[in-house]
C-alpha cells in the first residue's frame, strides 16, 4: 500500500484517498453553446495514457480536500501533488 502525500496532511496511506479521474477538465462555462458532440466529450471522454497523467484525488477519509497529482500510470508512482489552484507542475 503506497503513501500518498496529501498537500494538506502529508503522507497518508492510499486507502484514505479516493480517485477522481482526469484533472484539468473544467465544467464548460456555457454548456448550452456546445454541440452535442462537444458536450459528450466533456461528459464521457477522458484520456487514458500510459505514463504521466494529471489526476484528481480526494483525501476522502482524511481532510476531505481535493487536490491534483501527476502520477505515472505504468509505475503508480506519484511524481507531484499540487493544490487545485496551482498549475500543473513541470515534471522532469
Amino acid at each position: 500500500m503506497q503513501l500518498i502525500a496529501c498537500p494538506w496532511c502529508g503522507p497518508r496511506e492510499e486507502v484514505e484517498f479516493s480517485y477522481g479521474g482526469q484533472a484539468h477538465v473544467p465544467h464548460p462555462a456555457a454548456p448550452a453553446d456546445l454541440s452535442d458532440e462537444e458536450w459528450a466529450h466533456y461528459v464521457f471522454f477522458r484520456a487514458n495514457p500510459k505514463g504521466r497523467f494529471a489526476e484528481r484525488w480526494n483525501h476522502s477519509a482524511g481532510c476531505r480536500r481535493w487536490f491534483n497529482a501527476v502520477r505515472d500510470t505504468a509505475t503508480y508512482r506519484f511524481e507531484a501533488v499540487y493544490r487545485l489552484d496551482e498549475p500543473r507542475p513541470v515534471t522532469p
Partner: protein, 956 residues
Amino acid sequence: MTSTYRTAEGGRIDRSTTLGFTFDGEVLTGHPGDTLASALLAAGRHSIATSVKLGRPRGVAGAWAEDPCGLVQIEEPFPEPMLLATTVELFDGLAAHGLPGQGRLADVPDSARYDAVHHHVDVLVIGAGPAGLAAALTAARAGARVALVDEQSEAGGSLLSGTDQLDGVPATAWVEAAVQELAGSPEVLHLQRTTAFGSYDDGFVLALERRTDHLGGAAPEHLSRQRVWRLRARSVVVATGAHERPVVFADNDRPGIMLAGAARTFLHRYGVLPGREAVVFTTNDSAYDAALDLSRAGVRVQAVVDARPDGAPHRRAECDDAGIPVLPGSVVTGTRGVERVTHALVAPLAGGQVGPSSAVACDLLLVSGGWNPAVHLYSQARGRLRYDDELGAFLPGDDVDGLAAAGAAAGVTDLAGCLADGQRVARAALASLPLEPAADDRLPSAPESGTPAAPMVLWRVPDTSGAEGTTSFVDLQRDATVADIARAVGAGLRSIEHVKRYTTIGTAHDQGKTSGVLTSGITAELLGVPVRATGTTTFRPPYTPVSFAALAGRDRGRLFDPERVTAVHGWHVAQGAVFEDVGQWVRPRYYPQPGEDMDAAVLRECAAVRSSVGILDGSTLGKIDVQGPDAAVLLDRVYTNLMSSLEVGSVRYGVMCGVDGMVIDDGTVLRLAEDRFLALTTTGGAAKVLDWMEEWVQTEWPELRVHCTSVTEQWVTFPVVGPRSRDVIGAVFPGVDVANEAFPFMAWRDTTLDGVPVRLARISFSGELAYEVYVNAWYATAVWTRLIDAGRRFGITPYGTETMHVLRAEKGYPIIGQDTDGTVTPHDLGMAWAVSKKKPDFIGKRSFARPANTDPRRKQLVGLLPTDGRTVLPEGSQIVELHPDGVLPPPPVPMLGHVTSSYRSAELGRPFALALVRAGRSRIGETLHVPLAGSLVPVEVTASVLVDPEGARRDG
C-alpha cells in the same frame, strides 16, 4: 512407539518432556521443540501423504516452508487443512493426518480470535539469521526504531541447523546474546513465529504472527491466535536466507529423498537421523557438510555423488577420513522403492551423457542443486532480479527505494560474509535516516571458510529410465514433470508465465519455492535460450499461505461493518420490531403483532396511516446543513429545481442529477435563513450527496462562500402521518398554530417543547397530511414517547420501512436507486415539473437536450396492476408485449422494462407495482405481460400515481 531415529543428545528439543500426538490414527510421541515432521521422522516415518494427481507416496523433502510434499490436515484441537508438517510445531494432543494435495475446511465455526496491529519503524529486518541479526543489532545500537521478525520459533536461522562457531564458541551462543541485547533495547520490537508474507510500496510489509498455534489446546482464550502486523518502515532489510534447490531426475519424489540442508537441520536442530544409509547427490560444496555431519552422527554415507567433474578437492580429505566414498563426475539417474527410497541409481556423467548406472542401497537420498536466494519479498516490492550464471540463481538487482536484501537472500554464501552484509545494509539504512552507527558496533568473527569449488549448474539429469521425463518431478505438489514442461514448450509456449499456467508449476501451496527456478532453467534448456532470457514468474504475496480468518481479523460477524442505529432504537427493539439493513443503518422494517407475518403487519400499518395516524422513525434521512452567502447559488446549481426563490420558512422538493442528466438523489430542502438551508437526502445517498456538493464547491466553484456539513446524526426525524396527525402535533406542540392556513403544506415552523427546540415540517412521503418532527437526538426518546402518548387515543401506529415504501409507491414517489438505476432522467420519472426552465444552467441540464435523452422510446416510470388482482409481481420481473393475436413474439422476446417496486396495497385492495417501461406513458391503459413461473401474468399499465392522484389528502 520408541523414537528409533532420535539421537541420544543434541538438537534444540527438550528430551525431558514427552508430547503425545496421533498421525493417521497412530499414537506417537515427540518433544517440545519438535515440528510434526521431525517427530514423524524420529519415529522412522517418511511417507506422509500421497500426491494430488498420481497418488504417489510422498514424504518430507524439506525442513521448513520450502517443503513441497508433507501436507497435513490438523483435526485436533481445531480442524485446519493444508499445513506443512515441517512448519507445524508439535504440541500435546495434536491429531493430524496426511493429505493428498487437498484439504477439508472446518465445518464448525472458528472460535479463535484474530487481530491486527499497526507498527511504524525506522528499520524493519525480516529474518533473524546471521545477516538479519547483524542488521538488527547495527540498527538498534545506532538508536533506530527497529522491528525484527522471523518465521521460526526461535532466532538463529541457518545457525540453528549447523555447527558454526563464532568468536570460538558455538554460534547459537552469539544468537542468544544478540536476542538478549535486542530485548534490552527499548526501541526494538522482536517477533518470532512471525512470517513477513507480503512486501508492498513505501516500506509497507504485512506479517503474520502465530501467537498460540504452537500451544494447541493449552492456548489461553484471551490471546488472539494469529495477528496480522501491518508494518511501515523507512527501510526494509530482507534477510530471508535461501532455499536449497533440488536436481530433477527420474523418480525423484520418493519418501526418503530430501534436500541435503534439510537433513542437516533435522540432525542439528531436532536431534533426528533422517535415515541409516544415505547417498548424497550434489552439484556444490554445501552438501558435504550434510554428508560429514550425518556420518559423524552414525549414518552410513554410501557415497557422495558429485556432478562436478573434479568434485570438491578441498573436502576430499575429510571424506576419506570419514570413510565416505566420493564419486566426482557422477549423477543420480533414478531411484527404486515405493513407500521409501531403497536404492539410488548412480551413473557417470560426461559431456552431458550419462553412462551405465549402478544401484546403491540407501534409505535416504540427499540432494543439493545449489541455493536460491529467497527473493520473494524483494521481488514483490518490484525489485528486479538478475540471473547469476555461476550460482544458477536469480539474485536481487538494484535496491528498491527503501528496501534491500542482505546475506544469503542477496546471494552471499558464507557466514562471515552474511554477518558483514547484514551490517552493511543496515548502515546504508541508517545513513538514509540519517543516524550514525554506534561507536561500538562489533560483530563476531567467523572462521575462514576454505576456498570453495565453483558450483555446477545442473537443472536435471537426462532421463535414462525410459519414462521420458514423466517421473522426473519439477513441482512435486502439482505432480508436474519435465515431460509437462516439454509439452508446454512443444505447444509453442515461450513465456515462463505461460509455461507456469500450462503446467500449473508453482501454483500450489508452496508457490514454487523449490520448483520455480528449476522451471526457468529447464524451460530455457528446452528452448535453447539463456536462463536470463527466460526469467522467473512474478512473485506475489503471500509468501506462505495465510488464512482468511487472520486477514479478516476482528472484522467479522457484527464487527464486519459498522452498524448505525437511531436514537430510539431501544424503543423499536422493545416493541418487537423486525429490522432490516439500509446501508449501514439498522431500521425497523415492520412491527408485527402476535400472529402477524410481514404481509399482515404491513397491511395493518398502511391502513392505520391512511385512516388515522402513524409514526415513522425517519432519523436516517441524510441532512446537510448548507450555509453561507452563496448557499442559494450552490443549490441552484446542484438541484434541477430553482432553490434560490424558496422563501424562508418554506420547503421544496428537489432532484439532483449527474452531468449526464441521470438522477442521483432527491429530497426536500428547507430554507432556514437567507444564507442557510437544510438539504435532506435519501438514507443511502447522504454521504454521496455531501461528497458531491463538496466536490463541486472545491473543484469548480471555489469562489462560492458556502459550507456543507452533515447533521444527519445530530437531528432525529419523526414523520407523524395520517389524517389525525394534526391532532397529535397540535396536542404535543401547543405553541404552534397547526391550522392549514397558518402552517401550510411544504412549510416548516420552529417551536419548543419544555424548552427544547423542535422543528416541524409539513412534508409528506405518503400523500397524507403529515408533519416531520425534528429534534436534537439527545431528546429523541422523550419526544417520540410524547408523540406516541398523544396519539394513543387515535390509535397511533408505529410503522417501518416496508409500510413507508408501500405508501410512497401508491403515490408514485420513486426511491432513487430502487426505481432508478443511473440511466433514468427526471423526465423518465414524470418529474419534468421539478426541472427548472428558468435557470440558465445546473448540473446535467445540457444533457437533457441530447437526442438519446429526449427519445420518446425511453423507459418511463409507470404503474402496473396485475389484472388478476392477486399476483404480487417479484421486483426485477421482466415485462413483455404480446402480438395483437395474443402470441408471444419469437425469441429473443423484446424486454420492454422491469418491475422496480411491488407491494400489496391495503388502500387499493390489490397488489400493484411500479415499473420502468419503454415508452411507458404512451402505453397507459394497455395490457402487457410479466413472465412468471412459466406463465404470463397480464398487467394493466397505469399512471404511476395510484392513490389520491388529485392530492386531496395532503391537507387533511
